[in-house]
Structures are given as C-alpha cells and as structure tokens.
Symmetry: C2
Subunit: 550 residues, 2 copies
Amino acid sequence: MSKYTLGLDFGTLDGRAVLVDVETGEELTTTVYTYPDGVIDEVLPDGKTELGLDWALQNPADYITALEHTVPEVLKKSKIAPADIIGIGIDFTSCTILPIDEEGIPLCMKEEWKSNPHAWVKLWKHHAAEPYANRLREIALKREEKFIYRYGGKISSEWVFPKIWQVLEEAPEVYEAADHFIEAGDWLVLQLTGQERRSSCNAGYKAIWDKKEGYPSPDFFAALHPKLKDVVKEKLSTDIYPIGSKAGELTYKMARLTGLKEGIPVAVGIIDAHSAVPATTVTQPGKMVLIMGTSTCHMLLSKEQKLIPGIPGVVEDGILPGYFGYEAGQAAVGDIFDWFVSNCVPASYEKEAQKLGINIYRFLEEKASKLKPGESGLIALDWWNGNRSILNNADLSGMILGCTLNTKTEEIYRALVEATAFGARMIIEAFVNNGLPIDELYTCGGMPHKDKMLIQIYADVTGREIKVASSRQASALGAAMFGAIAAGSEAGGYDSIEDAVTHMASLEKKTYLPIPENVEVYNQLFTEYRKLHDYFGRGSNQVMERLKRR
Amino acid sequence: MSKYTLGLDFGTLDGRAVLVDVETGEELTTTVYTYPDGVIDEVLPDGKTELGLDWALQNPADYITALEHTVPEVLKKSKIAPADIIGIGIDFTSCTILPIDEEGIPLCMKEEWKSNPHAWVKLWKHHAAEPYANRLREIALKREEKFIYRYGGKISSEWVFPKIWQVLEEAPEVYEAADHFIEAGDWLVLQLTGQERRSSCNAGYKAIWDKKEGYPSPDFFAALHPKLKDVVKEKLSTDIYPIGSKAGELTYKMARLTGLKEGIPVAVGIIDAHSAVPATTVTQPGKMVLIMGTSTCHMLLSKEQKLIPGIPGVVEDGILPGYFGYEAGQAAVGDIFDWFVSNCVPASYEKEAQKLGINIYRFLEEKASKLKPGESGLIALDWWNGNRSILNNADLSGMILGCTLNTKTEEIYRALVEATAFGARMIIEAFVNNGLPIDELYTCGGMPHKDKMLIQIYADVTGREIKVASSRQASALGAAMFGAIAAGSEAGGYDSIEDAVTHMASLEKKTYLPIPENVEVYNQLFTEYRKLHDYFGRGSNQVMERLKRR
C-alpha cells in the first residue's frame, strides 16, 4: 500500500499543493491557487490606504484560503484516501514577516489595525526598510559586531530586523500592539499545528541567528533604538528548530479545513529555494545547487563554517540538518531575458517565430545556439537588478560592450545568457578560493528544463558537469520530502534526508558536460568579465552608482 | 534675368544634379540617378571575377551615365535656357581613385584590363588596403616624418597611398599600365573640361599633400617600396588647384552629352562633406559645421595651422580658399540609430507607431523626447563603427551601461543619441583645448531636418547654439555655389565665396539654444562619458580590441 506526503509551496503570487508518492517520488497531483490580493504594493485592500514607494505587502488570509482550496482539490483529483497521507511539509518565501497577537492572529485581520499598512505581512520584496538596513550595517561595522561578517558584511533590507525597525519607527503603536513578529512560513506551521516552531532556516538566513552564537546582543539592538533592546525576547523567540524536524501535528480545526486526517505530522518550515536542494538529490558537500528562475539561488552544504567575502549567508542546519548551509544569489537571471524579450526583440523576429510556431524564447535560443563562444565580440555585466553576490550592491547596473553595426539581436541575447553564467562562476570561485571545493553543479527551477543552450553555456563557462533535477517543482517536492521525514519510517516515511532523497528525488538522464574548446574560449572571456566586474564593482569607477542616484 | 548654376553631387550610390538660382539660392530642380553597378563588393560586372573581403569598387562609366541622365532632365524639368546656366560645380566622395591611361580613359574600360579588379575605381570605403596603411604608418613614425602629425598620427587605409600601394603589390601590371591615378572627382572635371585640375581638397585630405610642404619625399616612398620612390611624379601630379578656383570650360563633347552650353566654367572639384560648409553659410573661423547623416563630418576653418591630437586632417585651402580647413569625423551616427531600429525595437512599438501613422523613428523620438536628461541612468559609448576622431581606432566598439529591469526601449534610443552628442563634444573640446575656439555649431545633412530632439540634445550637450542649413542637399548646393564663383561676377556669378554665401546659402529660422538646466546635467554625464572614453579608448583596458580580434 503506497503512502503519500503533501508538499505545500507558498510563492510570491500563489500557493501550491503537490501530492507525492513517498516510495517513488512521483508527483501525483498538483493544484495551484493564486492569492486574491497578490502583492499589495499600491493601496491596502480597504481601497483607501495608499502605500509608499518600494512597499510590498501580502494578506495572510490568502495563505489560509490557498490551503482551503488546494488541499481538498488535490485529495479530490488524486482519489487518495486521507489515511494514506502521512505527512506535510511547507516551504515559503522569506523573509516575509507579520505582526501577530498573543493568539497568533495577524494584526491586519483585526478591525482596529486593518487600515495600518504596518499591520500587514511585509513580503520578502518589500524594500522600504532600506534606510534602516543601511543604518543597521553602519552601527554593526562600527561596533565590530562579529555577526556582520557571517553575512558578507551586509544585512539586507529584506530581512527581519530592518523590517521590524521600520515598524517601530514608523508605526510604534503597531510595534507595541504586536505580541510577536513571525515569518509567514512559521506562522502557517503555527496555524496547522497550534505550535510555534520557528525554523532554523528562516532565523539563520534572515534574522541574524546562529546555532552557537544566537542572536545579536541586546546591547547591539539598543544601539539601534532603545526600544529594540529586548526585541528578541519580547517580539521574536529564541526557540529555534532545525530543518528536518517535526513541528507538530495537524489540528482538528485544520483537518476540517483541508480534508486531511487530524494528527498527521507537519515538518518545520523551510525557505522555498532551500527546500529545492534535497529535491535535486543533493545531500552532501561539493555539489552546488542552482535554483534558476527569474533570479538564481546558489546553495552549498559543508561540514565547515567559513566566512566567505560577499556570500551573504551561512547557517548551521539551515538547509539540511548536520551541515552548514551556504546561500548566494544572483538578483536577476530569467528576469534579464524577460526584459530583453519585452524591450529589445524586433518585430521581424516575432513574426518569424510565429511562422515557425515556436515561442520567441525558443526562437532566440535556436538562433543563439548556432553562434560560437566569443564569435559575437560581445560581453555583458549581468547586473540588471544589481549584484547580490559577491559584490552585494543593489546600485550596480547592467552593461553590454562590443556592439557594432553588425551585432544581431540573438548575439545580444547570448551575451546576456553568458553574462549570467560568468556571474555564477564568480560565486563558484568565491567558494572554491575560500576552501569550499565544488565538483559538480545541480540545477532546478523554471529554466533548466526549457533552455538547453543556457545549461550548456553554464557547463562551458564553469567547466563543470551540470545535472538537472527531474522535478519541475523542486521546492514543493522538497517540502513533501521534509513531510516524509517528519512522518518517520514507522509511519511509512523516512528517518533521514538521505533515505528520502534515495526514494523521492531524481535527476534527468541527460547531463551537461563542458565542451573543452568552449571552456577554453570562455576562460579567456571570463578574464575580461572579471576585469570589468572589478572595475565597475569594486570602486575603480562608481559610475553605475552615480547614474542610479542622480 | 536670372542666372543659374548647376551643382553635381556624386554620392556613394547615386549622382545628383541640382539647378540653383544664383541670385536667391533657390533649388529649382533636382534629379537623381542611381548608379547601375552601385557599390561593387562581391563580383566584377563581368559576373566572374570575385572580390576579396573589404573590397569596394565602382564603375566610372556610371558617373558619365549619371551626367547623361540627370543634366538633360534638369534642363527639361526646369525649362531654363542653357544660356542662363553660367557655371558648374562638382562634389564627389573621396578618396575614390582610379587608374587611367594617357588619354584619361579608365583602365577598367579597356578590354585587356576589365577583368582585373585593380583596374577599377577603388571607392572610399574599400578597406582592403588596411595592411598597407598600417605599414605606411609604422614606417612614417619610425622615420619621424613630419607629415604624419598633420594627420593625427595615422594615415587611413581609405586614402590614396595605401590604395596605390595595394595596386603595386597585388597587381604590379596594373600599376605599370596606369599612366596616372586620379580621384574620381578630379577625373570627372577632366572629362568635363579636358583639363586635369586636381583639387587641393582631395590632395590635402587624402593624399598627404600640403600647400607648403608638398607631398612626402621620394625617400619616404622608397622606404615603402623601391618602385614607389617617384610615385608622385610618375603616377600623380604636383599641380594642385585651390578650392574656389575655375578648372576649365565645358568641352564641346560634354556640352553635347549634357545639353549644356559649350564653354561654361567648371569649378575645381571638392569632397562632398566639405562642399556643404559654405552651403551652411559658414565662411569664417569659430563656427563648426556638422554634416550629420549615417556618419558625421565636423568642419572648421581657421587662419592658423595647429596640430591637434586625434584630428586626422588640416589642409590649407582644403575647404575654402585662404583658410586652413580642419576635418574630424564620427564613423557612425545615423547608422547607430538605424542599427537600433532594425535590431532592438520591439513589435509592440512598431504596432503603436503604425496605429499613430508615424514612422518608427518619429515614434521613438516622441517617446524619448519626454525623458529628462539623466533620467534613464544610462550612458553609452558611440563606437558602433569604431572611433574616427579623436581616438582614431577602428577596433573600438559600442557600449551601453546602466541597464535595469525597468529600462525602456526609448531610454536606450535616447542614450545612443546622447552618446553621439558626447562624441561630438569630445571633438569640439579637442579643438578648443588646442587653441581653436568654437562659438557656434551649424548643421546640415540627412538628420537635422528630421529629428528636433537630436539637435536639441546636441545643443544641450555641447552648450552651444546650433543653426540648421535651409538646404536639404547642402553638398549639391555648395557645388552650385562653387560653380557661381568659377563663373565670376562678370558672367552673373560671384567673385568670392562670401558673396556666394550671402546670396545662395541660408539658415532655418528655428535655431537651437542650449537649455541651462539640461546643460548642467549633461556636463555631469559628459564627465562620466569622458572617463569611460579614456578607460576603454586610451589603453587602460583594451577589452574592445581583444574581443574584436578573437
């Protein structure tokens, strides 16, 4: 008799439930629910309260409604008996936080707070806390706080403390009224189980928490603002649970809402990108996972903790239990290609693609894949959305060089693809040069299944074999795998992530081997890339910053 | 009773005859004839003899046929009596040279030579003599030849001696058989008048000739190749005539061919861009003329001869008699915008332009003109076709910097326009910093009448008022003006170029004044441009050259 787990994947625009066969990893049924309020970035759902620039909120009711819609539908479509579903795992965007009262009710759901923007969920891409992030960084550097070096010297405005500090400064009444602030993923676990079981992944990557060091000191927080002194004790929690552990069991109320069986185990939540790592079969050091979509996350496991300049996060138990998990990122990858297609592809190409009955991306790929490396004479810097790793500078911008009157559209497209591959290689070399070897690359996400040229270019640029996850929804599959571990072998699940990987995760047969003559050309081009990267990115000519700040 | 002159304008693709009223400058009638053989760059008209890379030839018979077609048609359409046409002026592309026999017959017109590519006209854009140009430069620098500094340190492969040297090396039999080599413009004057009256404009800008210094020494030519020692004496002429003088009178044969009156004065030929200067009303120092089309030529008059680093030509009597004429150039301007429209403008823009019933250039201009200077955060280097002045390096290439996910197509377009304006300012500053003040800019050519935004940006970037010639075919009008001077006042023409300008040339009423707040922003952006210009153009990072030579 087969057993199943449920992977609940909460993205930026929708929630997804995937039912997975624990024995084979087969993804039986998937249902997706688009949040009615989506990303709230102009006006609150009251239709009146306008938001400032760079704000991005969500409505927590959407998460519950997503559960209510997707899970029963999965059950219905799959015809699997609830009794055969033995565990639930959850992955969520992060840092996505909200203020709640002592009963776990989001403040924004309460009449008295619903028109205060600070009472709502601050989505990961809420960037209005930038001034607080900058001040936090300055103060940390001045005080020579050790933690700042764990994050490559910078705390992002997307993370917990800049966001909380913004609430305190701009809406002290919300700060006072909040019993706690909590990551939306942890809040959902709380809703499902009645237990607050904050995840080491969220806390480590987004809340400056470390398994050994804990949070920054009250002294440090007091230096930000006197009222923040005890922010951890008063508004967060020091009770942090490692990835791979069980958070609790499904409550009666939630069983009624979803149609699942009361009491089935629910795993501690994990960030969406991190969840994809085991779904890509990786459970060991030396194998970097690239989760490639609109942006790329680069994940690496190690038994050692190293401080790597420009790599923003290393968290013990942050990806898998027993390992330090490293996360790096490229702020735009697929987004650059989308930008190019929307803004720079001529009508004649659109027409030709239409005539061939293929979409414009495949048409460009087809034309670009006929070019030899270096043939176009173009080189680009892939900073259309700034540089997350290893320069950590949102004010950098994209550049393309080598244009002539003969430059073709597909040559620019290929140069952009190559630029993102060079960006990935900069990250890989930062790890390797700091003592964390990387032998192979693994990839999953929106693009690897669609664009063969892209993956081959990454193999050629990095000089490494690339393997591609079979699953097209690796984050959700990973969540389901954590659900199987939360269930444990007695219930038909697994006792270790390695066992779960053996059964539930798999790779595409086709792997991408570097082609030696391409590797040679790209080594030369990468030397050029690095020179431009350092010239524009390390202070020789801060023209990009100056142009952006005009 | 009105008198008229004829301006004969020989471009790259066609010949044009314009009949101009000497008293008013009114352009009565224009006819254009497209050369049947056009630019010969793949195979000779015999259909068999294939050409190498970078070759560009023409058929001199096309020039005569153009005369035969355009002049009678002008007469017919205008209904002007031939007796009222008092003079002819000619402007021609340059350096466009051909080998002729002792009777002035082009070798390629003779049966025994017609299948030898070297017997044909080498058009200005024939670039296959590049190796000879490079060797010539090396030898000149080694010998510390003074002349090389008159040309900004470099002799272009487009010019006379690299082209003749190529003939000697690759087809010595053609070199031997040639009685002379001659510029096509001078050859046409010879055809019309029976007189060889080589132009100071051609000789000075393209044949390393100087009114005081003459040509390089036989010693220098011998250092190139022993057989070149007496190339000037044997294959060219030291008999050079200043611009503004009369070359001779129309022969009976040519009067028959064209329908004009025998014996009317024909002016010494001039290069097309140079001919535009008086047609733009400029006859004095301090006023730079920009002839803007696919590329831009920058012309300046001065009583002084200065050696300006990076400015390739200063010629006494080269533009107007009594002045040193300076010429600088931007190798691509309109060509860059054409490239952009062909390769980078999305279908959605084309559709919207169509809906509005305007062409895509006007549509882009309309959108781009709504942007404020510096608003886009973009900056570009305008080297899509290398840099002619002041870096004189064909291996440089275009660059664009500052791209983000929000960058719009029209923002890139505007950045490209701005980049060409910054390129023009670099040239202006080279003059000004070397003691040749420039107070005003004058412009003519294909673009100034079409694109108001472009001219306003040039005014704002250069901080100078810009005036636009009324004529849309300034080169041909200039030729007609020189025809009026060749005729002289007794015949109803003029005795000086100043008099001709007073009557025949005029400006548009609308002039473009720099807008102070834009000037300020562009001063800051120009600082960025110059820094990038010097970094990529002056040896700090020769990535463009390396990428091109891969």
